[in-house]
Amino acid sequence: MRILLIEDNEELAETIVDRLRAEGHSVDREGDGNEANELLRHTRFDIILLDVNLPGKNGYDILRSLRARGDLTPVLILTARSQIDDRVVGLDAGADDYLVKPFDFRELLARCRVLARRRSGTASNVFVAGALSFDRAAKRAIVTGKDIDLRAREVQLLEILIDNLGRMLTKEEVADKLYSFDESPSLNAVEQIVTRLRRKLQETPLVIKTARGLGYMAYVADEE
């Protein structure tokens, strides 16, 4: 993957760059807000890791102009402020996730993977996770080479979950996306569809986690 790290602290930036390169990613690093902004006008990346406090243009401004240009590259905010208000502003400005410094590198890599998969799931027509391969255009899911039989609702649900990898979706949100305006969504039906889809995906690393009272979250179980 091609990753852009926008971070002004040399020490931290160096460790992150080294770590990501060790994972086999191609990493560019920018320390100045204005220059980063310029770079993003011309160059495409798969993931952007964005610090908030930057010389020149701050992180939120960069993010805003990025989204204003219609660029949907996943952005992960790195912040030293733990106050929730900042996070909300960041997410509202169009960030996909955030981490509070100091963070565990393993957590950073995990979040990057989620973002990358989410992006690949929406950007390309084929989503691959371990044994699972899902073709959006053909609406076909293949597990270890074999077609699995998915009903229309299950395909829709799978699409929704892949689009929101690593995000908690409430049951109501799922129902809203699953059913059209004039169908009356039944929360029980949602539960049944989730249960069926989960059974069919048992062999794959795609996990549908249920948190009772909160909703559903899909994630790809780490290979290691």
Partner: protein
Amino acid sequence: MSPMKSETRSYSLQRRLLSMMAFGFAVLLLIISFLLWNYARGAANRTYDLLLAGAALSVLERVSPGANGPSVDLPSSAMEILALAPDDRVVYRVFSPDTGVITGTSDLPFPADIPLQATPVFFDAAYGDPFRFVVQGRQMNSPQGRLWVVVQIGQTLDARRAQQMSFFLNGMTGLAGISLIGLGFVWLAIRRALSPLRRIEADLRARAPGDLTPFEGAPPREISGLLEAINSFIARLDRNLRLTEGFIADVAHQTRTSLSALQGHLSLAADSSDLAKMQGRLTRAERQAERTVRLTNQLLANAMVIHRSDRATLKPVALKPVVRDTLAEMLRDSRMRKIVVTFDADHVADGEDMLIADALSVREALRNLIDNAVRHGPPDNKIDIALDVEDDALVLKVEDAGPGIAEADRARATERFSSIKQDTAGSGLGLAIVQAVADGHGAKMRLATSRNGGLAVTIAFPRLVRRTVAPLVWVAALLLGLSGTGTADAQTITVFSATDTPAMAPVIAEFEALNPSIKIVYEEYQTVSLHEAMLAGATPDVVISSAMDLQVDLVNRGIARRLDIAESADLPDWATWRSELFGFTFEPAVIVYNRAAFDTGRLPKEHRELANFIRDNETVLSQRIGIYDLRGSGIGYLFATQDAVQGLQAQRTTEVLGRTGVRTFCCTSEMIAATAAGEISIAINVIGSYAMSLAAQDPRLGVHFLSDYNLVMARSAFVPKAAEHAAAAERFVRFLLSEEGQRAIATRSQLIPIRSVDDVDTWTLSQLRAQAGSFLPIRFGPGLLTYLDALKKENFLEGWEASVRPPR
């Protein structure tokens, strides 16, 4: 430790004590005023009862046995005594239980339990208005045998009430003064008693900031408790200060230790030549770094939570979304993937989860609870979060399936830097942060064992209960002010008047010009028939009459309305009564003569000489003297009776007049016309206003005043209580007394104004000025009632007729 809150408004102890004392004094004054009020009534009654008793006695004295039963000649002194209470109405009767009422008002109230006795008995009874009555009897011999004659006299309570109020106010003024002096002493005493508090204040102010030694000295018993409390507060402050110092030392110690360990591992790794050993050191260094990070995070969180609970950042917050969002966020963490999280808020309806809180702090508390559960529990831990309403509390419960905390350790668990288990030890701040958040929200935190054997933490927040406030209904007084302005429409008021229409017409025209909205219907009466009409229940808007006694009689019956007329203050004392009856003209009784018959110089100078003058000229004056017919003319009767009050010569004059064959007239105008025409030579006791206005135009007429006294009467007006257009009627009466009205009377009518009017001088007025000093005005008041007594009047008229019309 929470700072002292000063939400309640401060108050002054001194003021409070003083106001309590003032309240006490006020209660005392109230009691005393009640007693004083009663005493004043008694005293006023005693004073005015003497008047009643005096009057009763003077009437009783004039009771005499007669052939047809007892009779009474009402003495004018009786009414004069009663008139010492000048504004009070008077009723009376003389009766015998055996033969009935002899004279006076027959239907006066007479309680059955009043004994017949020769000493006065007083009682209160209502007769229209409240009255005070005296009853006194006398036994006398009569042809029917020995019988009781009883006098009952009643008086309204105006003077008594005024006297009572005067007694009362005088007494209360003194008492209020004494109370104020008393309060002054109280104030001094309070100041002196509170001085120890001021000493403590001075001591506190003078202290150095670091001086936390307790107060010394022996305070008064009343404030020793306060002083103890202050001392114990100082002690706690001292302890807290030491704790804070300890905390800082702890933080320094923890951070430095943690960093030292990290540094140690790293330097060992750096020095190590064995790759495997170096790997081990680095792994441990990483774990140590993780702990240091967590320690730092939690120290910051702790500081943040405490800082935010100090500032008033609390506001209404719905807890359910806060918990849900926090959980959804935390679940993104890859550490949470194997952990089963449930959230149960099914029993909390929307709106029931409102509390006054700082969302950020609550979030931090929840994070720490979940974090604790994750850290101390197994990788597949089960964390159940529940929100529930219990009475006025909103209970947040976090249960896990971890190892839990033994009951013995629970109290210690929420203290700072007190990790229970060394192997999974965090910073030792997690539960302390939760506790701080709970404290900052006035919530109760409790540790228990969960259903799954782990730790159960409950935080019970006080709920923000929304009470439905019944809407207040405000009633707007929309019609306010409309009621008083509806008089714009033309009104017609009726005036019943015993005054010649030509005399009043110009005055009325002037009033109507000034008040276009009011029209006046004027009905002329003779004085006596007007009186009778009023007694029969007529309800005109204004009653005007020259017969002062009859007007007083009507007002004394309580039918007149009280008018608040500022102009009446300019009237002479004798010309108004009870603020109900107002005199508006000044009309002396004069002698009118035919100039051809007499030289002015031959006319008598004084009343005394009048009888001699007539006797000396008996032949010339035979059939040529005119007087009013007393039966038909109210004003004639008034002048005659007032002359009788002045002395015995009146009786003589009447006898002499009778011998000359005096002629009687019904009315002033006819009498003056006869004088002018020479039918008679002289007319006695003629209303001066008419006479003078005619004399001013007719050279045949002369007007003569006597030098000893000249009776003066005032034409008077009142508004009956039953008047239909009382407001307009009051305006008319006010006009009669006003500058404009008096000017109109002076310049446009034959009448003479009672007030002096600037820049107006007429022949009549100059004539009157020449006689100044000789005028004897007749006074409005109960004194005029004497000769209205039916028996007295009949006796007087019979005596007069016997003199004037001797049987042929």
